[in-house]
Amino acid sequence: MSEQNIDASWPLYEVFVRSSRGLSHVHAGSLHAPDDTMALRNARDLYTRRNEGTSVWVVPADCISSSDPDSKGGFFESSKGKAFRHATYYTKSEGVKHL
């Protein structure tokens, strides 16, 4: 048996499950698989054993670009301190219905 067949050398896949029609696919976890088809089968077996899903996506992990978890503060800075983006910032209409 060649070394390529040991599980750890299979590419990593990220798994996304849609719990019911109308909802988004949500990240459920990851797994290793030799190819897309096997990844889907494994994802079904691993992440939807209790009817958690109506649809599954598998995406090769190295196809996902991600923000750097350590630079969280800097990367998202521009949306901080902008309370005016929330309705609660506007208090004059308190007590007025449907606003």
């Binding site: 005016f84 309705a87 004059k92």
Partner: protein, 336 residues
Amino acid sequence: MSTTSMHSDAPVSNLDDERAGQERFDQIIAEDSRIEPRDWMPEGYRKTLIRQISQHAHSEIIGMQPEANWITRAPSLKRKMILMAKVQDEAGHGLYLYSAAETLGISRDEMVQQLLDGTAKYSSIFNYPTLTWADVGAIGWLVDGAAIQNQVPLCRASYAPYGRAMVRICKEESFHQRQGWEILYELSHGTPEQKAMAQDAVNRFYGPALQMFGPPDDNSPNSKQSMAWNIKRFSNDELRQRFVDMIVPQAEALGLTLPDPDLKWNEERGHYDFGELDWDEFMTVIKGKGPCNVQRMQHRREAHENGAWVREAAAAYAEKQARRNADAADRQLIGA
């Protein structure tokens, strides 16, 4: 995304049977469940959605113009930041909706082209000018208010990507209406001139805002089918009535009046009666002869053309990066 036989969202894909597809579709609609992009759907349903979602997207994009007109002249830094945040949101709404429409098989380029060459429509409300700062308040309160009234039921639209986009949009809209109402509140509690300016803005935007719900039901031929498909949940007139019922007390809280002599509470119906809207004007604006149609389209075309170098530069940069990465990989292979 590639589909394998595992894809449980498309149970009829291998049957290749229109009738089975239609049956499954009808069942999903009857259960008030959601259609996902890979489900079989009737051509009319797809076309209707592409038209509605892309026009909705165009409206968000064109809708930035009347308000952006006041960004440089907002009366304070605070108001300027709020207005920028709102206009930025509208750009985002346009992008969510273009993405939702793309799942139906139309390309972004095609939709943009339809807007630029005038074959696609957008909401006629954005063809009115913003003459004073109070207009920014009136737009937030009445135009975003009417949009929200329209959009909340669309969160349950049968086409799932549309519904999901609307959920995001409705969350973000929540501050739009309030900030507009608050602008008018400040003005109507300011000097007599400021109050008059607020009243004038409400007078001009009231009618066009009510027309945002579309023509009266007996003159809205496509509504019936859209309701049968669970895209539309309430008729134009139902939504309009709800909106009027909502804004009357809000206007009172502002200390402003609504420009309709026929507006009065009807005890029997439990609703406000209101006067006939100017549908001739509505049709005139839709046909391109409103006060700002030409200006809005011209500005959009110019913005598109002037942005070409940015798109070209981004593509050239991506290409350069890809080449560099490939070169680096080659060097590693030969051990250089």
